[in-house]
Symmetry: C2
Subunit: 454 residues, 2 copies
């Protein structure tokens, strides 16, 4: 596993160089991250074949990149930055402190510097900040033969040649041709005749999440990016989109657990920042729980009269909270995947209603047995004048009704949130649990008052 580290430590640089030549850049970066000593890290980096160095560098974590940049010459830095794809160079620059950014821009060649500066301007979550500029442009009047010759001369510098883009003299995007179609065409055909003029494109200012949706919908691997005047300015490739999808999912999952999303990885986020992301919802939910507490206060006398009722409160709250969360999480995920819309709300409610009856009855039946068994093995005791069968009946009836309510609340709130342009992910377990707690206690005390207190 730590082949590189071992070879550095045994100072077998000749062998190390050979090993590095055959390794995949992503694997090299992974092993380099394990090297603690900066000197060894730079040794490994300098042993990399020239064409690999920039690629390995773009796979490294920001702190390793910074450690290397701190120890290499301006000339070495320049050769990395000029060799990297512009989007990787921008990703790297964005993570560096200001003095390193200055140095990067100072040493890189004018064209690279201009491209980096331009891309740095786009907001973090925009399509513009995701794109690279090394894309394949063809002219519509070119023959296929001329186009292929052009591709063969220029393609080693390009990020992707799967699609070629056709622009007019003012760089307006006019069409797209897949390399497959270009290669399959006859030599004398014109690009104008092969290209598709209905191009699926992104705007520089567009949200990355929306661009990712379009990648998924159309099953494409790269998408051109245009500015406000429809001028072709860059290309987004699917590997970056996969990262966006993962980030979006992480955000959703965080929100569903009552946390504001973090920007870096978990381990790289500071304690203070983690606490800040978590405290807001904890406070909101805690204060909302005041209401649930007041319901209990209101029925204090009943709880004193039939003390065993208190001991079922956690089970009722948890079971109904879980039942409600199941419905809400199912609906939230279906909304994210585009499987349901607000207009399906009646269908969804009817579905969850039937599910809740099945689930509620099953849980209630098992719960009834559980209480009776616990009673007979002596775990529960009831005051004289109370009947365990009736009490178990009250709890189980509560379960059926409260599970039905919980699933109803769980499935409707995310759809309503979506309709109101709020984030449905906020209507996940924590929020649903808080609401369902109050509902299930009201049902519980309602049924208990009717049956037990006469």
């Amino acid at each position: 596993m730590h082949e590189i580290l071992n070879l550095v430590e045994s100072r077998s640089f000749g062998e190390l160089r050979k090993v590095l030549e055959d390794m995949n850049p992503a694997d090299i970066a992974e092993q380099m991250a394990e090297i603690e000593d900066v000197k060894s890290l730079v040794i490994v980096f300098r042993l990399l074949p020239k064409e690999q160095a920039a690629e390995v560098f773009s796979y490294l974590e920001p702190d390793d990149q910074q450690r290397i940049v701190g120890s290499i010459s301006d000339k070495e830095l320049a050769s990395i930055v000029n060799e990297m794809f512009v989007d990787d160079a921008v990703d790297f620059t964005e993570e560096m402190p200001a003095n390193i950014v200055d140095r990067v821009l100072r040493v890189s060649d004018p064209e690279t510097r201009k491209a980096i500066n331009q891309l740095l301007k786009y907001p973090d979550s925009s399509a513009g900040s995701l794109m690279t500029t090394e894309l394949l442009r063809l002219k519509s009047e070119w023959s296929v033969e001329a186009a292929i010759n052009y591709v063969r001369r220029s393609c080693s510098e390009l990020a992707s040649i799967t699609y070629a883009f056709v622009t007019d003299e003012s760089r307006h995007l006019k069409g797209v041709a897949s390399m497959k179609d270009v290669l399959a065409a006859k030599d004398d055909e014109l690009i104008a005749d092969i290209m598709d003029t209905e191009v699926i494109y992104a705007q520089t200012t567009e949200d990355q999440a929306d661009v990712a949706e379009r990648f998924k919908k159309y099953d494409i691997v790269s998408m051109p990016v245009v500015d406000g005047e429809m001028r072709l300015v860059g290309l987004i490739t699917i590997d970056d989109v996969v990262d966006v999808i993962e980030e979006e999912t992480t955000e959703d999952i965080y929100k569903m657990a009552a946390m504001a999303p973090i920007e870096d990885s978990y381990m790289q986020t500071s304690v203070f920042s983690l606490a800040k992301k978590r405290i807001v919802w904890l406070l909101i939910l805690m204060i909302s729980a005041t209401f649930t507490g007041l319901i209990i206060t209101k029925f204090e006398n009943m709880l004193t009269a039939v003390a065993i009722l208190t001991s079922f409160i956690p089970m009722l709250m948890d079971t109904c909270g879980n039942a409600g969360s199941q419905a809400s999480v199912s609906v939230i995920r279906a909304l994210v995947l585009g499987e349901v819309k607000f207009s399906n709300i009646l269908k969804v409610i009817w579905k969850e209603f039937r599910v809740s009856i099945l689930v509620g009855l099953a849980v209630a039946a098992v719960n009834y047995l559980r209480i009776i068994i616990c009673y007979y093995i002596g775990l529960y005791s009831v005051d004289p004048g109370q009947n365990i069968y009736i009490i178990a009946g009250v709890v189980s009836m509560t379960l059926v009704l409260a599970v039905i309510c919980a699933k109803f609340v769980g499935c409707t709130l995310p759809l309503l949130a979506d309709k109101l342009k709020l984030d449905p992910a906020l209507m996940a377990s924590p929020m649903i649990t808080t609401i369902v707690d109050a509902v299930s206690l009201l049902v519980y005390f309602g049924i208990a008052s009717l049956i037990l207190i006469r």
Copy 2:
């Protein structure tokens, strides 16, 4: 939006044909899904340009595919199936009832039939069932010129030409060359000299999730698939991997909400099947809550003596449950993204400990104020002999301690589950909540006994 539907209804077939020609297959499929009447659906399908029909068909939902297949001739069906990429044909066949599968296999040409039959054999979640067979093979002894000529003759039939694969006479995978490298090379260079012999490949029997991990790690867009004897049998493209990533995420999210994952989309899953996926964990968690109930039973006397204590139980359970879930969900997601490993457990615990102190103190302070304010506006009342300041102090001290415990439980259980080769996603909110409920009640009653009951 529903341009197609309007044109069908106004019987403007000439215009419809023109509109369809310019539309993207994914958009056509989306609009076709809105057509309720089978006759109209088949009319639209028959108006599609021949080369588009198969692609549109592969974008349709299974029920729409079935409606069309039920109304077209064997000849039409054959032309669709033969035209589709084999992986799409397999995806379609897998969703159809047996009689349609028989018909598909009967009408398709021998080569397609053989390929479909072969891919149908692989288990649902294996790399084999994800791959297609239309990949680009080159011979190592070919010159670049010969290779390019070969690509130009054959590429229109292929699923992806981004990478070309080199095999020996027995079809063993020997190397890979990107089309970019092939095109950039000189005419007389040999493929053997360009190709990379360190190929990142998948095994037919391998789990799709593992393959998806490799796509992400190496930022690749297609991966060759080999059988047990390293013979090249297929190709997985990134668009299918994106679907796998989405499915894996959905599974994780379902497990995190105490549900077994569903196979189809939410709307297509039956009520009975949804109930089955949800009932198991509800029952397990309900029965586990017996323990929490017993804790309350044990401290019944104290709750009778200081009745107001009962009303804080829901708030304590919810807040600590949420605090624990925040930690567990953060760690689960970090595990999925490969950001933490079991070996980081001490670092994680230390991090969560510091977070829990910050969060616990903040929540406790606000809670203290909340109780005092509620008391003075008359929402709470205390029995004579009890002091609201002391009671609020007990509740707030419980919050600090219980939040620390909750975060500890929340961050360690997913890591332990991962170490024990269990799914960490099972250690999310519902499970953590159930455990943390018991812990927070024990802390609560412990502190209350010490301070209030003398």
